[in-house]
């Protein structure tokens, strides 16, 4: 409790909104604790949801000096309403002047709502924040990542929303206080309820473990052409993934979707077929080992990300590649005899 009760400790220390997925803090939000320490030499954190006490106790291990959690039954990762009230209440009570969040559907809704509630500026898509001549400055990439923009805030609190996948968590144990919040929840927040949850099948978990992924995007002509990708994946001992548009068309299950709203994967080899490389897809696969792109559009942004690429029609290149790899495997098998 020591640090938490000292007057003035609140306002200079950035508050980090911690997101929970599958019972643990997301790497992106843990990374923001390190960002906060670099900015101000201290970090505060807030985490909400049924598992949040357990998660809260892990946060001093990543540099959080003060941690608040809210685990009442109204809190659920799918329902940002009560979380907004809890975070807003904390900002008011402790006078936080800076709030750092990552980018997810929920975090974006939370940042937007706080912005309107406090008439506070929110700069999004940030790569980093730093102090310059006593002012907080955010840096971001824009215009297809061709320019770097420095941005600032007028007034407080300053809301900073970070691009997915920037920064890594840093393990640094600090003493840290952990306290339960007892927030008051507005009637607005209680109007939205969960009607049903539909968990997807087991395939998703396997995709995360696959060493080789062959992924299809909008450039895949029709649902039947996905078989070309399946054949290549099977020749390489891998799995097929897709970008969101193909899930939306009903060509593949959502469990096979890679990207911002899908799985985050890092296989040894990722072959992107007919995928433009939008940010939303990139964040799900850019940490893969070797990235190969096959795309007929030479200006597709995936070519700026891949290790090797072919500008050409995937419907011709993929079957030929499958044939060569099968031939190679067959030759190896007979040589091993």
């Amino acid at each position: 409790m020591s640090g938490a009760d000292m007057s003035g400790s609140g306002s200079d220390t950035p508050l980090v909104f911690i997101e929970v997925r599958r019972g643990a803090a997301t790497p992106g939000s843990l990374a923001l604790l390190a960002t906060a320490r670099r900015l101000a030499g201290a970090a505060a954190a807030v985490v909400c949801g049924p598992d949040s006490e357990h998660v809260a106790r892990t946060l001093p291990g990543y540099g959080a000096d003060e941690v608040w959690f809210a685990d009442q039954p109204t809190f659920d990762a799918e329902l940002p309403g009560p979380i907004i009230d809890a975070v807003a209440g904390l900002i008011v009570a402790r006078g936080f002047a800076t709030v750092l969040l990552e980018t997810s559907v929920a975090a974006v809704e939370i940042a937007a709502s706080l912005s309107a509630r406090f008439d506070a500026g929110v700069n999004w898509d940030l790569q980093d924040v730093e102090m310059r001549d006593g002012q907080m400055v955010g840096t971001r990439l824009a215009l297809g990542d061709t320019v770097v923009i420095d941005v600032g805030w007028t007034g407080e609190p300053r809301l900073a929303s970070f691009r997915l996948g920037v920064g890594e968590p840093v393990e640094q144990q600090v003493p840290g206080s952990v306290q339960r919040l007892e927030p008051s929840i507005s009637s607005r927040a209680l109007r939205t309820t969960i009607h049903e949850r539909r968990d997807s099948t087991h395939e998703g978990a396997q995709l995360v473990d696959a060493a080789v992924i062959v992924a299809g995007g909008r450039g895949v002509r029709d649902a039947a052409s996905l078989q070309l990708l399946e054949a290549l994946a099977s020749a390489l001992g891998g799995m097929v993934a897709v970008s969101m548009p193909l899930v939306d068309r009903g060509w593949y299950p959502v469990s096979a979707q890679v990207g911002q709203t899908g799985q985050k994967v890092r296989p040894r080899l990722y072959i992107a077929c007919g995928i433009s490389g939008s940010l939303a897809h990139r964040v799900g696969m850019e940490k893969s080992g070797t990235i190969i792109a096959i795309n007929s559009d030479p200006s597709a942004s995936i070519f700026g990300l891949c290790d090797a690429g072919v500008v050409g029609d995937l419907h011709e290149v993929v079957p030929e590649l499958t044939r060569l790899i099968r031939a190679r495997r067959a030759a190896e098998a007979s040589a091993a005899g």
Binding site: R22, A142, V148, T193, D199, C306, G309, E316
Partner: protein
Amino acid sequence: MGAKICVCLKVVPRAEVQLRIEEATHRLDRSGASELNPADEYAIEEALSIAASLDAEVVAVSMVPLSGVETLRHALALGVDRVVAISDVSLAGADMVVTSRVLAKFLEREAPDVIVLGSQAMDGRGAMLGGAIGQHMDLPVMSGVRSARVEGGRLRATRLSADGEVVLETTMPCVVALSGSANVPRYPSFRDIVTSKRKDISVISAADLGLVPSESGPAGSRTHVIGIAPRPVRQADAEIFVGEDGAAAFLVGVLDRAGLT
């Protein structure tokens, strides 16, 4: 009184226009050709389908420079009943807080049953307006929505979750912000396009909404751009092969060198 659905539309530079930020103002150059923000065609489609089930009127609103107002006619061709443009030089340079306040002022007057937004604007890419509008108007918000329909007087929406899908339900009026591609937008027929030319788009100012300059435009903004610099170019070290003939052999070579075959 009949039911009403409002849909928020942004006019953005055409996809093929190279985006440019003006040196002097640090604002996006909006002088070139424009189009309806692609994600907003899904918003119109979703608004029309919700409206069909309620026999509701569909009203579109956009905060847009005068030069972009005609671009909104596409919404009329798609079946939107009425389009209102909030156009005012004082609004140039509005950040998200200001934009959400201006739109909320208009939406409060219209008092719709459902407010639909696209997933994000292709220029600003904040995806924040829905959440902010809901806060200003004290309405529940559901975002990242893939489909929405009215069920027993409540709005039911499906969206992706970390573990699959989740179906949310809320009271109306409410705000619905969609996910990337929620539905299949319709194409206007030739007749729809011709008819749309005869309809009026009403243009109103910030003052018409009772907004004073300190709340709208740059003075109300809480974010600002300090400076812009070209990004130090990262030398692309990718090996690129052009054409289909020999491409597969080239890729096998790449896999061999990476020790992946």
